[in-house]
């Protein structure tokens, strides 16, 4: 992985031991954060290149189904269409030099230049639960890709 992620809040593999460690290590993230950033950048690269199947392979199945429902198309075809209706910029996001990642328990958020991506731990890796997201004050992000 070429890029090192800037971390701003983490809990790592949580639990009492991790609590003790993180008390003395406010910025620690471990490999979890890097893996989450890697998946987020893979997604943005696929979206920027119009590679729907590659993008959908990174999504939580429920999120992929929601894309299909929403677009009336398969996820592979529909996800690329959603880029156009979102305010996100996958091309800029894919080349973010200092992504910010937050990991807490089994959830992660990766803030990129042109997008914010939410991920969840799935087995040993991460799957994307939401992408093409716009921040809203005091409300959840408005995401074009998310499980319904």
């Amino acid at each position: 992985m070429g890029r090192r992620a800037a971390r701003w809040v983490t809990a790592g593999p949580s639990g009492l031991v991790a609590i003790a460690v993180c008390l003395t290590c406010a910025g620690c993230g471990g490999p979890d954060g890097d893996d989450a950033v890697h998946v987020a950048l893979q997604l943005e690269t696929a979206l920027a290149a119009g590679q729907g199947p590659e993008a959908c392979a990174l999504l939580l199945p429920a999120a992929a189904e929601a894309v299909a429902d929403r677009t009336g198309n398969s996820c592979d075809g529909g996800v690329v269409d959603l880029v156009g209706v979102s305010g996100a910029d996958p091309a800029a996001a894919a080349t973010t030099t200092a992504p910010r990642v937050a990991v807490a328990g089994r959830q992660a958020q990766v803030a990129l230049s042109g997008d914010t991506v939410f991920l969840a731990r799935d087995g040993e890796g991460w799957v994307v639960t939401a992408a093409l997201c716009a921040a809203r004050a005091d409300r959840p992000y408005d995401c074009e890709v998310e499980a319904s």
């Binding site: 701003w8 949580s14 639990g15 003790a20 429920a62």
Partner: protein
Amino acid sequence: MLWRNGLTLVFLLFLLLSLVGQAVAGARLFDEEQRAAGLDPVGLLAYVGSSSFAVDLAENWQSEYLQFFLFVVATVWLVQVGSPESKPLDGVGRESDEEQRVGEHAGPGAPSWARRRGWRLAVYSRSLSLVMGGIFLLAWVAQSVAGAAAYSEEQMRDLQDPVTWWQYVRMPEFWSRTLQNWQSEFLAVASMVLFAVYLRERGSSQSKPVGASHTTTGVDG
């Protein structure tokens, strides 16, 4: 041998059984939330290692140790007429060395630190509150750290921004969890102190003798 330590052992057994029950029920709840979000269930072991379990554990532990810390310290100076939980009304304060049997007044079975003057006696004279208070602080800090992680995890599951520890300890979520536990502990102490003035439990160390008057203070059954 066992019956001589029965009070400790039985409550440790209750602790163990309750912890297992909490872990099983908590894991099932956590997995319900995982499934609702379209995610795989995590199972019991992963849940026990999670911040969600840790915050639930720590928030209850800190309040229990706070309760005993405050009760131990408060009963040095505060009394309640008629309560077996209180000292006699004329015993307020740290009491004399003779009454406390320390230094030259120490008996043959006294702990070694109770015989010596200086810092050892000062520390040992406050060791119960120091340990109770220390565990309270550690558990409260653990609650705040685990709580920040658990809250952030929920936030991100709901597509919202996570929070830092410093943000979390200034949030209503942290103080709601903290104060709802504290109020119940203070209620329990006040109830025990006051109920024991008028009510009896024959044979219990926490009660006056059944025939003792309501104004008798500082006498255990």
